[in-house]
Symmetry: D2
Subunit: 319 residues, 4 copies
């Protein structure tokens, strides 16, 4: 049976990562398994930046944003030699298995390590909700609520000044943050990489709104679709709506994790340790229909995320 | 096809009810169906307190707690004669169908009206999450986050003073609020009607904690299980832990609805109108594994809520 | 004695304006004075967009951001003829005096109306805290807390990724939001129009920080000082700190008003009506050392805001 | 010149205490003064529970509630012998002076130590705002906003169900939390030790409200005035208003400190060190009209808090 486990966070940080780290650590300690925090993701794994956890190590972190283990870019980990060196570092302290908390990009390294005999389990930690086969990733719910709070604030001033307000949110190529936030805030229009972007239609819709009884309007748009400041100018010119663009930016990645994210992270952390205890590796933890389960990382790499078509339709029905 | 629909809220209010009211109203208006807000639940239905909605009526309510339609107790609605009188009131304005937002107690009246030829659809609105066959009720996520925020505050002061803190939360006979909050806040002990309450065990556990390295402890308990102020005194006497009890009370019912509750409420509101449009009635909207669906109210009355055993186990694994 | 008073909001909206409107309305109604809400600032005054308030009119607005009276740009009000026309509109409904809630720009119109025999009292409503002779303007405390919350979120992710984070905040030419937020969040550097901006010094300081033991840094900067995205690039190039710029934008203007802003707004609203009742006009309400008082608008126009030198020094002492 | 300073927190914890601890520590380190955190208040002082701070010690605590130094009851410190023993502990590590963060009760020990040659400076840390000669104590603003948020939630459900809601808040014998919260939330009635409690008048006022157009009412009351659950029953019986009592409890003591509390705490911490550097002791830091200053502790002990009469009057004017 596994006697020593490491845990690291990789990629962009997400609220709830600390709750997952805590759950991994507590579950290990309660089972009598040694557990190490690996600093700075794969970079720290390669450098042997390991801290042995005791019960105090993860005290008072369940409700803190960010990751106490830090994160860092480390493209060098694609190099097989570097991975072997990392395994040497792990062996030096007796670390036999690893929990990797991060986006699906982080899973590739985890799968390679598993092939080399070090069982790894992935936990989906990213605000973008862009990992296939899991309904939710850790951090998504918190970021969504952060966006909704920002939109509530923008709605106040947008209404007072009868403006059109554009908010650009994160999500990389995944529109889940935008469409859920749009639905939650009564947005007029939601634009994501899934919907595509037809500027003419957007302008036409806002023109109609203004001609009707709408005094202000909110547009939510995923990052990387278009330049929102330029879009604002063109909308104002075309519709007469005074228009303001806002890019919400990195604050979406921080903050106290929501209840859901903490529960999700805690449950996934427990599950990850139990799988390693069973001698399994190369698996990614998922939440499907409220159930915590796991899929082979290889299956996940071959899968695409389902687009929540219904949500996009509901935005249209409710505007 | 249905030409006129009413919507009411019944039972205890819950954050997100207004988002559901808005979704019913908007969906109707966008489909060309007349829609009335019925004030004060079944009481207002009986008294004909109807307000015809236009697009302005539900403006700026999606993010407001409580219910703009108000709620009231009206046990008289169990009387068949009263129900017939209510139907007369509906007929007087041409209202042909009804959306009832509330707890499953509210569904009984809705089913009786359906039997009398007035199609009714139920939407689960209660913070208690105690309705069978739906994973979540509208308001649960908001109330859970409110509790978690209160526990985060209590944890600050509990840690500073090295106390044992007991928090009594709502949920009637359902422990979902308590167990999720306990998991999200790293509670030492969660006590609900599902777990039962063995005071000896609770005290023994806290005695062990104090003897170990724990400097403070949090106990979350569902309402109606025991008198928490008395429990606090007995814990303090038995364990030496300075202990404080808190009853969170009615503030759990209010506040800006969370993103999840607004999305859930919006989607359920759309679905309810679509079912009435199809000529259906006597159905309760549910969310099952992330999917919005519906079940016959009769099926729901014969069902029991699943207890989330895994959550209770995870609390134990993580303390 | 005055028998009828109007109230309007002008300039950028600010959280707490509604609490001030409510206080004006309630105080009038409790004194038996008629009170009208004037929509859209001076534009609505000129167009006669008046709504007579009753006790219901200002219900449930004390905790809502924005302004229920809306705001609009109306440079035409500088035209004496337009002002005379506005006075005609007021006379038509018997409105004898006016409370103007807004920035000091709004006070000019108020003073002109006073000269024409219509007593006006100004209430300082702006998040920028840039009005002389008042310690605080309505909205400042809420906006400050909004910024602090954003900085707390940014700090999480800034720390996890060991970045330098730049946040641009509002304030026009007043650095109060920036310096208070910087102090409240432990910023490394605060840049405002009062401090001036010496890019070389900023870069040198960050270079030293990185060379020392600082793993991440926060820079808070007032709007209109420099292009923060360009600054971020230059800092990253010069110091090696991965640097991200964020422009917080219009969300600073919205949101539930803080306790302080509601209390301040309520007290100022009461005071404004009492002054009008005493037959006074051309005065601006101020808060000085916790006391609600008033100064002649003319005095205010000749005054400059005190710069809180001590705060700027404390930032340096605490970094 | 002083070479080594200790800092402790005493009495009930308050949000912002950590910001004050950080400010004391940073100011010392930046001046080249050694600085020790003293755990558990005077108890830890007596036991020599000292931790030497470096720049890392107070990292990431500015926005955390509670006190990292913990607090504990220690009535034994009134014993002169115990105080001499504490001074021995201080001498053993070279600690020459002390900053005491807490309520005015904590100042007595600090004054005694000063008489014995150990300069002590007091910083007012308590949510109750019950210390004379300072406009605000650290923690008051945060607790006030916590109460206001609770009242906003209660207002939602109170309005939906047309209830009378009573909220008991902290403050010991000081009504500042209650009266400010009442003003900020449009309470019908505020009851504090300053106002006295005339149950007949309270009931009469609520009877009038209900007879008038008020559908719900909020009563805010300071702790220790009366049993609010019993009061609720009597109000309901006498007025017909369905009435619910809530005791907000210890959660008022926790939570992320507000911007104001962090700024106040930071400035006071700087000031305390500067006074010790000047060889002063037996002084209490105050905020008067926005200015950070200090008064002799003896003067403070002979003073009474001003009651903010205007606020109480404004509550009446605005209901």
């Amino acid at each position: 049976m596994v006697k020593s486990i490491g845990v690291l966070t990789s990629g962009g940080d997400a609220p709830g990562m600390n709750a997952a780290v805590r759950a991994v650590a507590r579950t290990c300690l309660n089972k009598g398994i040694d557990v190490y925090g690996v600093m700075l993701g794969y970079k720290g794994l390669h450098e042997g930046q390991f801290y042995k956890f005791n019960r105090h190590s993860t005290r008072n972190i369940i409700n803190i944003g960010g990751t106490i283990l830090k994160s860092a870019r480390f493209p060098e980990f694609k190099n097989p030699q570097i991975r072997l060196e990392a395994i040497e570092q792990m062996k030096a302290v007796g670390m036999e298995a690893l929990v990797v908390i991060g986006g699906d990009g982080s899973y590739h390294g985890a799968l390679e390590l598993t092939k080399l005999g070090v069982n790894c389990i992935g936990i989906p930690g990213t605000i973008d909700n862009d990992i296939p086969l899991t309904d939710h990733t850790i951090g998504f719910d918190t970021a969504l609520n952060t966006i909704v709070e920002a939109l509530d604030r923008l709605r106040d001033t947008s209404g007072s000044h009868q403006r059109c307000t554009i908010l650009e949110v994160m999500g990389r190529t995944c529109g889940d943050l935008a469409v859920n936030a749009g639905l939650a805030c009564g947005a007029e229009i939601v634009i994501t990489s899934e919907t595509g972007f037809d500027e003419e239609k957007v302008i036409e819709r806002l023109r109609q709104s203004k001609a009707g009884d709408k005094k202000h309007a909110i547009v939510v748009i995923t990052e990387h679709v278009t330049d929102v400041n330029e879009l604002a100018k063109r909308i104002e010119a075309a519709t007469g709506f005074e228009t303001r663009a806002n890019v919400l930016g990195h604050l979406q990645r921080g903050g106290r994790p929501s209840a859901n994210d903490r529960v999700l992270a805690s449950r996934m952390g427990v599950r990850a340790v139990e799988l390693l205890e069973q001698g399994k590796g190369g698996l990614a933890i998922c939440e499907q229909g409220g159930v915590i389960t796991e899929v082979p990382m290889l299956t996940l790499f071959d899968s695409k995320r389902d687009v929540p078509e219904e949500l996009y339709e509901d935005v249209l029905k409710l505007r």
